[in-house]
Every structure is written in structure tokens, then in C-alpha cells.
């Protein structure tokens, strides 16, 4: 049945063979491409496929807890309940869900409208993400939301740890606070695992001990789908192995040397006298441990941690305001005034230019050049030796002694006692203070004048120290000449309470000073309180034998219009130690613009010391308190009989 008139298939055959060739080549090329993608690039695409379905979720670590020396919690974490909505879910049934949410949250009409507008304005990918609508709701609101959770589709309450400071403003400068990392922080700490949203220590111990307190975040890689929704269940996540999950390492805890009871007593002493600003430091004489580090007014770390608004921050840091952010105990510098006189005495005694028993005559002033340098309040002390000059704070005696010692020797003695140099407490920016020298005056003021030495000898003019420096110097005066590095951290502990690291006291230097000279000075310092002529005799008390020195730091300030006249008043100092015969603590109190040290600062210090020995640490020092009291009375009766410097261990 050959069809005629048509050409046969045979002439197609060559073409069909070509087609077969093309088909083989074409399909082979596809196979080669598949081989390339699946074998040569298989590893790369396998990783990408894995990244597609896994999402790394970080698990925050809990920040270490900070406790005081008796284990009272100063900084801890509590769960804060935040309310989130997923805009896409909630807008689907906005009319039903949102009014209820607003009602349960107790929003005003205005707040409600604003929040609704905010939720509706979200677009793009963020519509599927959690959006914070209310932070840190109270327990009552939490309970209400929980009860009605079935009505609140698209609303979630998520607990996140929040840093909390139970003592509030107390010791706030030393403790510091934390808040969210900034872009600059992220740049400044590369490779340390910080991420947007993390918290970072901002001040005080929270900042300085950040790496210890922080811990290490953990992570878990959970399953997700193409929209990024998480598919892994809670149970699955718990079962994940090490390749999918790493538990966070909690931060380590700190035990401080601070005693919050003593801090409270300090606060009380300032508050009762309504002093708006000032500072105090209490250190253990034989360890350098800081028991109290007080600065007033203070910030509230709870407020700072929640985040403050810009206007509030401006208010807090306004240099003409109360400046609560400034740490007056270690950052602010003041002329030490007469509290510096023991240092001048040491310089003169070391140089051998004065005989402590020798009396000189005070006529109320001495004249150098065409200037008269006077005793305070126009006092005339008549015949004074070193001891009675310290007791009565006679400037003329120390003008003479200082001049004999020379400025540079005073400078050296001050530095020996740790004044004019940073103490190394290791938190915040610490001020160095300043003790001038002849060279400094020559360089900066053009030429040196004899009067400068006189001002330095009584701690005025360009002499600058911090409250903490002075406390450590007085501790050295009290302990026989050992200068300690101030210690704020007693130990680092694991979350289970076991000690990881204990910090022993650190001696900074043994001061080159004759023990007999020191004993003489200490006796005089006791006289300042105990002797009826003493500038702080007002605060002599039966409970504790307090020794110390009053001081008044001259403030030379021209008041601006409308400023409080008080701001031109001098700062009041008291620096001392107790008990006088067997010193345990050294204390320094500064009342800004308080005026006279004897009448303003000394009562604060005395109250703190009394509280310390009678209320804060009852039992521990009682024996020495009683002994001191007994001796105090004897001393008064015997009117300053010479005592042998008894227990100098250092």
C-alpha cells in the first residue's frame, strides 16, 4: 500500500539522526548542569537550605547579682512583663480585639487612639513581628490579660528580665546602672557578642565589672518556614543537641565591701540636717575596704535602667542643676582645707624643721609680702604647739610649719598619703586631685610666691583632693602609716553561692613616717573632739571615741543672678577615725556649701560613726567601744596626758 506521489520517509532520516544527536547533547548538557549544581556546589546549597529553615534565636544570660557585705541584694533581676502585638494578626480583628486590649491596659482615650494609629501604621515585614505596646505591666494587669487571653488574639505577654535596684538611689554612683547598648557600643566592643537590644553596664560596678556580671548568651537554632514563623515546639527545643542548642552561661555574682546599713545611716545623717548635697566615705582602717561611699544627691538606677527621656537626661546632667549624676565621693575634687593640716605636720616633722613640743605665738595672723594670712574667724590662739594647733586648727602655726617644711616637701608627704593621685578604686572616672609644687606655680602662674606655700599648708587654693582620697589618708594616719588600695569588691561568687575569687586587701604603700610622730598627730586628732578647745568638741559622745579634723574648703564663687546665696558658702569637712585608741574605720564627710566643718560636717560624721558602732555592727566592736568610752572619760579627766601609742600593727 505504498502511497504514490509522495516522497518517502527515507529522506527525513538524516535529519532525524541529527535531531537525535541534538536531543542527546541537549539532555546531556542539562545533566551536566545538574551534576555541577548538586555535586560541585552541593555543599554550598546544603548550607543555604539549612539556613533557610533554621533560625538562630539567642537566649539571654541572666546578669549576676550584686550583694553588700552582709548578703543584702543591691542589684538583681526580676521578670518584667511586656505586652506585644503582631500587627498583621491584630488588625485582622482590630474592632473586636483592640478595644478590649485598651480597656484591660487601662488606656485613656488619647493613649488608645495613638496606639491604634501606631499599630496601623506598621507595614512590610514588620507586620509579622512582635511590636511592643506596653512595657513592665503590673501584676494586676498581668492577671487580667491572662484571664482574658482567649479574647486577645494577636496579643502576647512576654516576660523579660529587668534589672532592679532595691536600695534605689542609695550607693547609686558606686553600683551604677545598665541600659541598652548603643550603636557606638557595638562598634567599640566587636567580637564580644553584643547585639542590638542587649543591656550593658553604664556606670559604677555595673560598668566596671560588666564582663563578670554579664555571662554569656546561649542560642538555639529552631525550625522555621518561608515566612520566618517558628515551627519548633518548646519540647523539641528542650531535646535539641549541642549542634542546635547552647545554654547560656549566667553571669557571676559579686559581694561588695559596702554595708548598706551603714549607707542608710549615712543617708539619714545627711537627710536629718536637710543638706542637699555632699559626700561621705567610710573605709576599714586595716584593710582599705570601703564600707560606705556616699554621694548626694543621687540618681535612681531603676529609672536610668528603664531608660530616661532626653529632656529628663538633660535635666539630670544640667551643670547648673543639682547634678545628681556626679559622683561627689570620687569624681569631684575639693580643697581639703584644714583636714590637710596633719599632712603638713607630717611633712614638717619628717623634715625635722619643727619640734612638736615647741610653742609658737599666734597673734591671729602672719604677714608675708603685703598680705596678712589669718586664722579662721579672727581667732588668736596665743601660745600653741603642734598638738594644740591641730586641736584648735591654728592656721598661723601651720603657716610657719609649712613654710619651714617647704611646699615641695608638703607635696611629697601628701602624695605619700595618696592625696593628689587616683586611689585605684576601679569604678567610674576617678579624679586624681592635685597638690601643687613650686615648679607648678612657676610654670602656670608665672612665678612662685611665698604665700602659696602658706595656702597649701592649710589645704586651700590649688590643693585638691577627693573625699575617698582623704578617707584613705586618714586610715593611714590611724593605722600607723599603711596606705591601702580602696577595695569595693570582696569576692566573686558563682550563682550557687560558691566563691570563685576572693580579693584580699591590697597595700598600696607603707608611708615613710615616724610612728611616734603619727601617735602624736593621732592624739591631737582625738583632742579635736575630746578637748573642750577642739573644733569638733561639739560632737564628743560617750558611745565612741572619735578622732578627726574639721576643715572648711574655701569656695570663691561669684554668684550669678538668681542663684542661691548658699552656693557661695564654703564646703564643710570632717575627716577622722574611730575608735580613737584602736581605730577600725576612717570616715570623711563633706557637706557642700555647709560652711563650718566643726558645726556642720562633724555632727554628720559623728552620727554615722555612732550608728556604725551601736546599731550597724552591734556586738562586733562593743568591747572596744566600751574601752574607748571608759578611756575617753579618763582622758577628759586627765586633760590630755601623754599616751603611748599602743597598738600599731603596721
Amino acid at each position: 500500500m505504498q502511497l504514490t506521489g509522495r516522497a518517502g520517509v527515507s529522506e527525513f532520516r538524516e535529519r532525524i539522526r541529527w535531531m537525535a544527536f541534538v536531543a542527546v547533547v541537549g539532555v546531556s548538557l542539562l545533566a551536566a548542569r545538574m551534576f555541577f549544581v548538586q555535586i560541585m556546589r552541593g555543599e554550598k546549597y546544603r548550607r543555604e537550605a539549612e539556613e533557610n529553615i533554621l533560625r538562630m534565636i539567642s537566649i539571654p544570660s541572666t546578669r549576676g547579682i550584686v550583694r553588700d557585705t552582709r548578703g543584702r541584694v543591691i542589684a538583681a533581676n526580676r521578670p518584667a512583663y511586656n505586652v506585644y502585638v503582631v500587627p498583621r494578626w491584630i488588625t485582622r480583628r482590630m474592632d473586636q480585639v483592640f478595644p478590649k486590649l485598651a480597656e484591660y491596659l487601662g488606656l485613656s482615650r488619647d493613649e488608645r487612639d495613638r496606639m491604634e494609629a501606631r499599630i496601623r501604621s506598621i507595614d512590610g515585614r514588620r507586620r509579622d513581628q512582635y511590636m511592643l505596646v506596653r512595657a513592665d505591666i503590673d501584676r494586676e494587669t498581668l492577671a487580667i490579660l491572662d484571664t482574658h487571653k482567649d479574647e486577645l488574639a494577636g496579643v502576647s505577654v512576654i516576660a523579660t528580665p529587668l534589672r532592679t535596684y532595691p536600695f534605689g538611689t542609695l550607693a547609686a554612683h558606686a553600683i551604677g546602672y545598665i541600659n541598652e547598648v548603643s550603636a557606638e557600643d557595638l562598634e567599640a566592643h566587636p567580637g564580644e557578642g553584643y547585639r542590638a537590644g542587649d543591656r550593658i553596664g553604664r556606670m559604677g560596678i555595673e560598668r566596671a565589672w560588666e564582663s563578670i556580671l554579664r555571662g554569656r548568651r546561649g542560642w538555639v537554632r529552631v525550625d522555621r518556614d518561608h515566612r520566618g514563623l517558628i515551627l519548633s515546639s518548646r519540647e523539641e527545643i528542650q531535646r535539641f543537641g549541642a549542634d542546635r542548642r547552647q545554654d547560656p552561661v549566667p553571669g557571676r555574682d559579686l559581694v561588695l565591701t559596702l554595708d548598706m546599713e551603714l549607707m542608710r545611716a549615712t543617708e539619714r545623717a545627711f537627710a536629718q540636717r536637710a543638706y542637699p548635697s555632699g559626700a561621705a566615705a567610710v573605709v576599714e582602717v586595716r584593710t582599705g575596704r570601703v564600707l560606705a561611699l556616699y554621694s548626694r544627691p543621687a540618681l535612681d538606677p531603676n529609672e536610668m535602667t528603664m531608660g530616661v527621656s532626653l529632656p529628663r537626661l538633660r535635666e539630670l546632667s544640667n551643670p547648673r542643676g543639682t547634678r545628681p549624676l556626679v559622683d561627689r565621693a570620687i569624681y569631684e575634687m575639693y580643697p581639703p582645707g584644714s583636714t590637710f593640716k596633719p599632712i603638713t605636720a607630717v611633712a614638717a616633722l619628717n623634715a625635722g624643721v619643727i619640734d612638736p613640743g615647741e610653742q609658737i605665738r599666734c597673734i591671729g595672723y602672719i604677714t608675708r609680702g603685703n598680705r596678712r594670712f589669718r586664722c579662721a574667724h579672727g581667732h588668736v590662739h596665743n601660745q600653741v604647739n603642734l598638738e594644740s594647733a591641730l586641736i584648735q586648727s591654728c592656721n598661723v602655726y601651720f603657716f610657719t610649719a609649712g613654710e619651714a617644711a617647704t611646699m615641695n616637701r608638703i607635696h611629697r608627704a601628701a602624695l605619700d598619703f595618696g592625696l593628689g593621685r587616683r586611689t585605684g578604686i576601679g569604678i567610674n572616672s576617678e579624679a586624681g586631685g592635685f597638690i601643687p609644687t613650686v615648679e607648678w606655680y612657676n610654670r602656670v602662674w608665672g612665678n612662685f610666691r611665698r604665700g602659696y606655700t602658706l595656702n597649701t599648708a592649710i589645704g586651700q587654693q590649688n590643693t585638691r583632693t577627693t573625699v575617698l582620697q582623704l578617707a584613705l589618708a586618714y586610715a593611714a594616719l590611724a593605722n600607723g602609716g599603711t596606705l591601702y588600695v580602696p577595695q569595693l569588691i570582696q569576692r566573686v561568687t558563682a550563682p550557687d553561692g560558691s566563691t570563685l575569687q576572693e580579693f584580699p586587701p591590697t597595700v598600696r604603700r607603707r608611708i615613710d613616717v615616724n610612728e611616734g610622730h603619727l601617735a602624736l598627730i593621732d592624739r591631737a586628732l582625738r583632742g579635736v573632739v575630746a578637748d573642750p578647745r577642739g573644733t569638733a568638741h561639739l560632737v564628743d559622745m560617750p558611745e565612741v571615741s572619735l578622732a578627726g579634723k574639721t576643715g572648711t574648703a574655701q569656695v570663691s564663687r561669684t554668684l550669678r543672678e538668681g542663684e542661691d546665696a548658699r552656693l557661695a558658702a564654703d564646703h564643710a569637712w570632717f575627716a577622722g577615725f574611730a575608735p580613737a585608741d584602736n581605730p577600725e574605720i576612717a570616715i570623711v564627710v563633706l557637706v557642700e556649701h555647709g560652711g563650718s566643718g566643726g558645726s556642720e560636717a562633724a555632727p554628720v560624721a559623728a552620727q554615722v560613726v555612732r550608728d556604725y558602732f551601736t546599731r550597724v555592727r552591734p556586738g562586733v566592736p562593743i568591747e572596744s567601744v566600751q574601752r574607748a568610752n571608759a578611756r575617753g572619760q579618763r582622758d577628759r579627766a586627765r586633760q590630755q596626758r601623754a599616751r603611748v601609742a599602743p597598738h600599731r600593727r603596721h
Binding site: V27, V37, N52
Partner: protein, 367 residues
């Protein structure tokens, strides 16, 4: 009838088996591809079985009727399919900005799929009718050219670039059987190049161009036009040698492959079965194409040979474009993988082609 008995003896088992294998793994793959979907879309593999069953029935009918009748009524079929294409614009539904579908009852079909065959068959008739032994000149090409131009333009208007391309390529494959005069060949070659250039410069819209070129560097376009291509590549590549296992392909299970039924089922297959599975499937297709070409070269007449070539071309170009698209060597144009992709029109068209091949194959030795 003696002829009919003869035909039964000539049943083409090779063709039958390879088509069964492809269709079966297609259904298996669809089962996995749809397993993670809820509702009606999760049952798509069942639908596919229905389509395959219906397609087999149609294929039996197509194979049973002697193809000389097709030759006789080729132009009728051609004109009918042109009407269907026009009807798309009148009755059709617009889906995502293109008009491709006609709804008949619950059955949606895409006339442009059938046009691939009707046009090729019409051209095959034109080719086999030609009795003179001279090589073809340009004048001889006018008639097939016009036959081809109509449906291609109509499909382009929908617009459906991929299908238009397949319609053209299948018919051109048939035309490639004709011997051309040397001069004609060169004129065609040069005008093809110039025309392509002009088309690129003036005929295509910017988004079409981007779609066509983004495959060169799919990573660069990760979230827009080449998202599908990138996710498809990730699926294939992560399959490696043996694949991640049946029902375990993460790209599909987590819905990263945008269209795992019609355009990208091979990506699902490649991730779950690896290079081994891919090569097996490609082997089946190569076997099918070569088998079809063998039928063509042993057909009893020119028309039979030409329609066998048309079917081979249909499979070949679909495979090339679909696999090329899935593997990011060709642009993403919606071209299905024969008998493997989900889709009524596609499955029916392919099964008709199988029926035609069977038809020609069984009638090879009947004289």
C-alpha cells in the same frame, strides 16, 4: 479486521513503559510536593491521577483512530484551536494579568497547550503534502510560516511567552525536516538573528527582559524576580548525590519552592532524590525522545514521521525549558515537565502526543 489485529500485535511496549514510569514518579513526587499543604491543594496528586487516567483514555482513542484521518482533518483541528485561542480573550479568565484559561464546568483548560500539537500537525500535513523533490525556497515557506504565525501571535497576546516559544519551536522542529535551499537557509538565519535583536530592543518590556536575564545571576535578585530560581537552585543543590529522602525535602516542606506542582516539581524531586533521581528522570526523557525519533524514522509515511517528530520536539523542548529553568540556565518561563508536572491541559496534551506516537508506531509495518 486484519489491520486491527496487526495493530494489536504491534503495541509499543517501550513507549508504554517509559510513559508509565515518568507518570508514576510524577505522581509520587506530587504526593510529596503537596504533602505539606492544607486543604484542596494537598489533594492535587489525586487530581493528577484523574488527569492521567483521563489522558490515558484520550491517548487510547487518539492511538486507535488511524492517523490518516488526522492528516485529512489537520486544518480543521488547526482552525478549531485558533478559535479556542480567540475564545480565551472573550470568555477567558484573567489570572495574574494573563488570559490563558477557559472554564468549562469545573474544568479549566488552557487552549494554548493544545495549539502546540494542532499547529505542528497542520505544518506536518503541509510538509508531507509537498510532493516535489526540490529543496524549499522562501516561497515554499510562506504557507507554513503563516500557519505558525497566527497561533504564536495569539499566545503572545495572552501574554504567554513560554508557550508561544514552545508552539514555535515544536513547529520549527517539524519544519526542520524539510530540505532548504542554501540561499533560503542563510536568509532565514540572518533574518532570525536580526529579528531576535529587534525583538529584544523594542518588542519586550523591561520586566520581561529582567525576567529573561535574571537567571544569569539569580543570587543578585534574591527577593524579586529570581527568588524562585534561587530557591529552586538551593533545593537542587542541597539534594546532592542521593537526596534528602522522600517527603524530607526541606525546601518544599517549608514552602520555599513557590510553585512545586507545575513549574518546579523537578526541584522537589532533585532535593529528595538527588543527582541519582535526576539522572534517572532525565534518562527516561532522553529514552522517550529517542524512541519517538526512532518511530519517526521508521514511520510508514511522511505525515506519520512528521507528527512523531512533532511529539519528540514537544517533549524535548518542554524538558529543555523546564529543566533549564529549574536549574537556572534558562529564564523562568512557565513550561511544564511532560507527564511529571501537575496540570490538566498539560497532561492531556502530553498524553495526546503519546497517543499520536503510539498511533504512528503501531502502524509502521502495516502496508
Amino acid at each position: 479486521m486484519a489491520i486491527e489485529r496487526g495493530i494489536r500485535e504491534q503495541f509499543d511496549w517501550g513507549l508504554f513503559v517509559v510513559v508509565c514510569v515518568i507518570a508514576t514518579i510524577g505522581v509520587v513526587n506530587l504526593y510529596s510536593a503537596t504533602s505539606s499543604l492544607a486543604g484542596a491543594r494537598g489533594e492535587l496528586y489525586v487530581q493528577q491521577i484523574y488527569w492521567l487516567a483521563l489522558g490515558s483514555g484520550v491517548a487510547v482513542i487518539v492511538a486507535a483512530i488511524d492517523y490518516k484521518y488526522y492528516e485529512r482533518y489537520a486544518y480543521v483541528g488547526y482552525v478549531g484551536s485558533i478559535f479556542a485561542l480567540v475564545a480565551v480573550f472573550v470568555l477567558g479568565q484573567s489570572i495574574r494579568g494573563t488570559q490563558r484559561w477557559i472554564q468549562i464546568g469545573s474544568f479549566q483548560f488552557q487552549p494554548s497547550d493544545f495549539v502546540k500539537l494542532t499547529t505542528a500537525v497542520a505544518i506536518a500535513k503541509r510538509l508531507s503534502m509537498d510532493s516535489h523533490v526540490e529543496k524549499w525556497t522562501l516561497r515554499d515557506l510562506i504557507a507554513p510560516g503563516l500557519l505558525l504565525a497566527g497561533p504564536v501571535l495569539l499566545v503572545l497576546l495572552q501574554p504567554d511567552l513560554g508557550t508561544a516559544m514552545i508552539v514555535a519551536l515544536v513547529s520549527l522542529t517539524v519544519l526542520a525536516l524539510a530540505k532548504l535551499e542554501r540561499r533560503t537557509f542563510w536568509i532565514l538565519a540572518i533574518s532570525g538573528i536580526v529579528g531576535g535583536f529587534l525583538m529584544w530592543s523594542f518588542g519586550l518590556k523591561a520586566y520581561q527582559k529582567e525576567r529573561l536575564t535574571s537567571f544569569w545571576d539569580p543570587e543578585k535578585h534574591k527577593l524579586d524576580s529570581a527568588y524562585q530560581a534561587v530557591q529552586s537552585l538551593i533545593a537542587i543543590g542541597s539534594g546532592s548525590v542521593f537526596g534528602q529522602g522522600f517527603m524530607k525535602g526541606t525546601q518544599n516542606q517549608r514552602h520555599f519552592i513557590p510553585d512545586p506542582f507545575t513549574d518546579f516539581p523537578l526541584a522537589v524531586w532533585a532535593q529528595e532524590w538527588g543527582l541519582v533521581g535526576v539522572l534517572a528522570l532525565l534518562g527516561c526523557y532522553l529514552f522517550l525522545i529517542l524512541w519517538a525519533l526512532n518511530i519517526a524514522s521508521t514511520a510508514k509515511d511522511r505525515f506519520g514521521s512528521a507528527i512523531a517528530v512533532a511529539c519528540a520536539g514537544l517533549f524535548f523542548w518542554h524538558v529543555i525549558f523546564n529543566v533549564g529553568m529549574v536549574a537556572s540556565v534558562l529564564p523562568v518561563v512557565g513550561v511544564t515537565l511532560p507527564m511529571f508536572s501537575y496540570g490538566g491541559s498539560s497532561v492531556l496534551t502530553m498524553m495526546i502526543a503519546v497517543g499520536l506516537l503510539m498511533n504512528v508506531s503501531m502502524r509502521r509495518s502495516t502496508f
